[in-house]
């Protein structure tokens, strides 16, 4: 039995759902960022798997999209963590349930 595209997609879906679980069910803002990073990594795994198993064209589109996605994820992580630090300085907490000052 060699690994098929289905197996890679199942692994990627499991990774995405673990990231979704961390994003939706944790209270700490850093955990939410960890979950978002995990979901982005699962999407990258999908791009690479479809590139590898699909028909080969001249330019490696799936690999290119994955590289750009990694760069954008890095920018997102930097800004997100800077936001967490700014929020912590202001409110002395990283618990997202306590950041409800915009509530009417």
């Amino acid at each position: 039995m060699t690994p098929t595209l289905t197996l890679f997609l199942v692994i990627s879906a499991a990774l995405f759902c673990i990231g979704l679980l961390a994003t939706l069910s944790r209270r700490n803002a850093i955990f939410i960022l960890i979950g978002i990073e995990m979901m982005l990594a699962a999407a990258n795994l999908n791009f690479i798997a479809f590139w590898r198993f699909g028909s080969q064209t001249q330019s490696p589109t799936g690999v290119m999209v994955a590289i750009f996605s990694i760069a954008i994820a890095a920018a997102e992580a930097a800004v997100g963590l800077a936001l967490v630090i700014a929020v912590y300085r202001h409110y002395r907490t990283t618990n997202v349930d306590k950041l409800d000052h915009l509530k009417g």
């Binding site: 060699t2 690994p3 997609l9 879906a13 673990i18 069910s25 979950g35 995990m38 990594a41 630090i85």
Partner: protein, 160 residues
């Protein structure tokens, strides 16, 4: 693509990811996240995208993990009673997984073995980046500059 390597990497990645999502200590979760990212990089190597695997190790393990650890250090005194688990989130994640699994297993076209390909050299990636993808490359450069400046402004001292 050997099945043994696939199974080992899959178990490592999913275990690391699940530990990162469920451990209550932040620093342990960050270290488990590193394990999950190394597993994903190993998947990229297994799929023949060595360059992307290396980029994954450099960017995620080298930069993002260190950023997360420093943020944990800087927000250390934050209240620790964040261990509460929202079971609605667990239900939603399980429902999404069931839906995705159903959709994947319903599609018989996906159960194909990997076709033989010519190796993806860094030369080919560089040529594609400098010809077909030169505008996206410039936009990513601009985005990274803006993100760097924005991150600095966000954490600058408020008192001035």
């Amino acid at each position: 693509m050997s099945p043994a390597a696939f199974i080992v990497i899959a178990i490592l990645t999913l275990a690391g990811a699940f530990a990162a999502a469920s451990l209550s200590k932040l620093i342990h979760a960050a270290l488990c996240l590193v394990v999950a990212f190394v597993g994903i990089a190993a998947f990229f190597f297994l799929l023949g995208a060595e360059f992307v695997g290396l980029v994954q190790v450099f960017v995620y393990v080298g930069a993002v993990a260190v950023l997360i650890v420093f943020t944990i250090l800087l927000t250390r005194r934050a209240d620790e009673n964040t261990a509460g688990f929202n079971w609605g989130g667990v239900a939603i994640a399980l429902a999404v997984f069931a839906g995705l699994l159903w959709a994947i297993l319903q599609t018989p076209e996906l159960s194909v073995a990997a076709p033989p390909i010519e190796a993806l050299t860094v030369k080919r990636i560089g040529e594609a980046l400098m010809t077909d993808y030169v505008w996206p490359l410039q936009c990513v450069g601009l985005l990274l500059t803006v993100a760097l400046v924005g991150g600095l402004i966000l954490v600058m001292d408020e008192k001035r």
